[in-house]
């Protein structure tokens, strides 16, 4: 017996070893992992099988109900799939606890799972809703919305109220990343507003019992929101297009304007020479009488003695920077001299002078102002009525010109040094200059130095007394008119600084061949106006004084003007009592074309021609 014990044990161990070597073992412990009821009337339990121990294993589910002692087996292993147990209606009791256990059995042994205490009341998880429909609808005010509709899952009894269901929908556009979820309560429809037209939207629904678990998300449905171009939209677009067109037009217009102003800055317009009161249109028309009356001539050719005087208008031009040069110097004004800078926008007769130099120098630097240069020449002739006539503009003055020590100062041209003392002009001018000081522009000069002008005029008047005693006085005028012309002239001189060229009227040429001048009365009133009226288009310059009593006048502008002058010169000579002056004028007229120099838009007559001719 005792001898059999060890052998029996050995056999047992051997048997176990063999079975172990074969990999067979009792099954592992199964586990019930989920029980669910879709409608509160049936339920299903699923389990996870444990290891099967290498042998075919049977699983069985047993349960017992609360309050019952007996144990029952699962009525249906098939309906819900493998490893499941389905409890149909007759086997399902609500408000009762089920104690469920799963047994795994194989050849080697069996194992049982832990019991699960289940109350069907609390394990309700429905199926997802069905019949999901999407529709795009419109409200009365053309607002579109998405109308979503669905039905509860088939098996749940919602109608009797046994099952109370709550729903939830979610939607997202095709491009969006996240869903937008909405709780809808117990209703089976929903409206979604403010969706983007032209986009595709996906919608899903799910449901939940009043006390239970949410179902999974139902089948996805999609719909595309149509683009609605209503009339309102097109109207808006039309308005937008019109506005943008208007804005574009405004911008183009602004650019054009600006461009024009820029062009004018770069290439400033060169005004033609003008004489105040001279209307070229009248000239074109050929109505010389009207033209001359416009100029202030009366009954030209003069019919009376008093009208025998040649009436001309001289443009007295004041330049901003007059360079003094010796009278004999024949330098071309525009050459070798730095042009004074003048206000390019000052399109006066004065400006006409400037513009030529502007053209050459592009309005940068002070220019030598040609015109007044005549004065020094006049002044040089010792005795004489240099002062009588304000310098005519002559581009190519052989007349010395004055150089203002400050650029842009439109002062009366001065003779420096010696010359200054020579004539009242200069002294006056000097005084004026001193009084006035440098000015940038004619206008500013005019405005600022009004007083100075007055002073100058006063000084001129004082000077006049001196002058009166001199030959010049007599050379000017014997008449009171003539007497007054000088002071008037003198008065005008400073004025001339301040504004565009002033005009003096040749009142008459007396028997001595003396031109009596007096300023055109209009000019006085226009003292404040820097701009020359555009009608004045003709200038006459004093090219020189001959024989102490001959004033050489030179028209300086266009051919018409010269022609006119020539004409008037021709006419004038008869009125002139001077033979020489007659000749001179004739020669002047004759040589005007020869001597005319054209600088830019302006015509200037070279006084040297005339001097020759006169001599």
């Amino acid at each position: 017996m005792k001898e059999n014990m060890p052998s029996a044990l050995a056999f047992i161990f051997l048997f176990l070893n063999i079975s172990l070597l074969n990999g067979q073992s009792p099954p592992g412990k199964p586990e019930i992992h989920k029980c669910r009821s879709p409608d509160k009337e049936t339920f299903t339990c699923w389990w996870n099988p444990g290891t099967d121990g290498g042998l075919p294993t049977n699983y069985s589910l047993t349960y017992s109900k609360e309050g019952e002692k007996t144990t029952h087996e699962c009525p249906d292993y098939k309906t819900s799939g493998p490893n499941s147990c389905f409890f149909s209606k007759q086997y399902t009791s609500i408000w009762k606890i089920y104690v469920i256990t799963v047994n795994a059995t194989n050849q080697m042994g069996s194992s049982a799972s832990d019991p699960l205490y289940v109350d069907v009341t609390y394990i309700v998880e429905p199926e997802p809703p069905r019949n999901l429909t999407l529709e795009v609808k419109q409200l009365k005010d053309k607002k579109t919305y998405l109308w979503i509709k669905w039905s509860p899952p088939t098996i749940t009894d919602v109608k009797t109220g046994w099952f109370t269901m709550e729903y939830e929908i979610r939607l997202k556009s095709e491009e969006a990343d996240e869903w937008e979820t909405h709780f809808t309560g117990q209703q089976t429809h929903f409206k979604v507003f403010d969706l983007y037209p032209g986009q595709k939207y996906f919608v899903q629904t799910r449901c939940k019992p009043d006390h239970g678990y949410w179902s999974r998300w139902g089948q996805e449905n999609s719909i595309e929101i149509p683009n609605d171009f209503t009339l309102k939209n097109t109207t808006v677009w039309i308005i937008v297009a019109v506005l943008s067109a208007v804005i574009c037009l405004i911008m183009v217009w602004a650019v054009v304007l600006k461009g024009y102003s820029m062009m004018t800055c770069i290439f400033p317009p060169v005004p033609g020479p003008k004489i105040k009161g001279f209307d070229t249109h009248l000239l074109e028309k050929g109505k010389s009488e009207e033209l001359l009356t416009a100029l202030g001539c009366q009954d030209f050719p003069p019919t009376s003695d008093s009208e025998d005087l040649l009436v001309e208008f001289l443009e007295v031009d004041d330049n901003e920077d007059v360079q003094l040069m010796p009278s004999h110097s024949k330098e071309y004004p525009g050459q070798g001299v730095k042009p004074t800078h003048l206000d390019p926008d000052n399109d006066s007769g004065h400006g006409s002078y400037d513009s030529h130099s502007l053209l050459s120098e592009k309005c940068e630097e002070p220019q030598v102002y040609p015109p007044a240069f005549h004065i020094p020449e006049i002044i040089e002739k010792p005795e004489n009525p240099e002062e009588n006539i304000p310098p005519t503009q002559d581009a190519q003055s052989s007349i010395p010109y004055f150089h203002a020590d400050v650029s842009k100062s439109s002062t009366w041209p001065l003779l420096p040094g010696q010359h200054m003392t020579r004539s009242p002009y200069h002294s006056i001018a000097d005084v004026c200059k001193l009084a006035g000081g440098p000015v940038d522009t004619l206008a500013s000069f005019l405005n600022k130095t009004g007083r100075n002008v007055l002073k100058c005029s006063k000084t001129l008047e004082t000077e006049e007394e001196k002058i009166a005693g001199q030959e010049k006085k007599k050379s000017f005028h014997s008449e009171t008119k003539q007497n007054t012309s000088w002071p008037l002239l003198q008065e005008n001189l400073p004025v001339v600084y301040a504004k565009p060229p002033d005009y003096v009227e040749i009142h008459k040429v007396n028997k001595d061949g003396i031109l009596s001048l007096f300023p055109k009365q209009k000019e006085n009133d226009q003292a404040e106006k820097p701009g020359v009226p555009e009608t004045s288009k003709e200038y006459a310059k004093v090219s020189g004084v001959m024989d102490d009593n001959i004033l050489v006048l030179v028209p300086d502008s266009r051919a018409q003007n010269t022609a006119l002058f020539g004409e008037s010169a021709k006419k004038a000579p008869p009125s002139l009592e001077q033979n020489q002056s007659e000749k001179d004028l004739a020669s002047f007229a004759a040589t005007s074309s020869n001597c005319r120099l054209q600088l830019g838009r302006l015509d200037y007559l070279d006084p040297t021609c005339f001097t020759h001719s006169f001599h």
Binding site: G67, I94, W95, I97, K159, W162, H211
Partner: protein
């Protein structure tokens, strides 16, 4: 002279009394209702009642979940704890078909009984749980709230009965509360088991009430076409 004065006094007194009686009768004026029918619509009443029952269930469910956290994996404990609910003696329908076969007024009376039967146990629960469990505060607050809401629920159901089934009013079945034993002088484990069972039963009964009322609403108000 005296008799005249006394007569006058008697008359005035009588008049005063008469007027008082008349006024007293009119102390509770009749409500002004169209057609003399001062009633809230039945659907409105059911909706309000169901809101209360739903809320009460949520409270009891939360209470159970709090308590169950402690014993989640303790199968033995749970096995021991589960015992008959005290209200199981009430013949409440145990399924949909049963419930639909019960007449509405009977079901309403059942609901009344069920809710009534929980007044005392709830009160007991508050005293029993106090200071013992970890989740005692949560349980106590909810228990008190359920007690409050139950009263309002009872009022609502009685109103429905009075309006829809006035003849069945007063047929409530009183019973039950004697089934819960007192927990004093009991050991800790037994106490815990008893508490667990009580809370489990409360949750179930709340669910029953809620479900019955929802059934009734669809049946009475919407004619089984919810």
């Amino acid at each position: 002279m005296n008799s005249q004065g006394s007569d006058r006094k008697a008359v005035t007194l009588l008049l005063l009394v008469m007027s008082n009686l008349l006024f007293c009768q009119n102390a509770h004026p009749l409500p002004i209702c169209p057609g003399g029918n001062c009633q809230m619509p039945l659907q409105e009443l059911f909706d309000r009642v169901i809101m209360l029952s739903h809320y009460i269930y949520m409270l009891s469910a939360d209470m159970f979940i709090e308590l169950d956290k402690q014993y989640a994996q303790d199968h033995e404990f749970i096995a021991k704890a589960i015992s008959d609910c005290p209200t199981s003696s009430l013949a409440t329908p145990e399924g949909k078909e049963e419930a639909q076969q019960v007449p509405p007024e009977v079901l309403l009376n059942l609901i009344l009984s069920l809710v009534h039967s929980w007044n005392d146990p709830l009160f007991q629960l508050v005293t029993e749980v106090d200071g013992i469990h970890e989740a005692s505060d949560a349980i106590i607050s909810r228990a008190k709230e359920i007690g409050e809401q139950n009263k309002r629920l009872l009022e609502g159901i009685e109103k429905i009965l009075g309006q829809a089934y006035p003849e069945a009013k007063g047929n409530e079945i009183y019973s039950v509360w004697s089934q819960f034993p007192s927990l004093q002088g009991v050991d800790e484990e037994s106490r815990d088991l008893a508490i667990y069972n009580k809370v489990r039963c409360l949750r179930r009964d709340s669910h029953k009430v809620d479900n019955y009322l929802k059934l009734l609403r669809c049946r009475v108000v919407h004619n089984n076409n919810c």
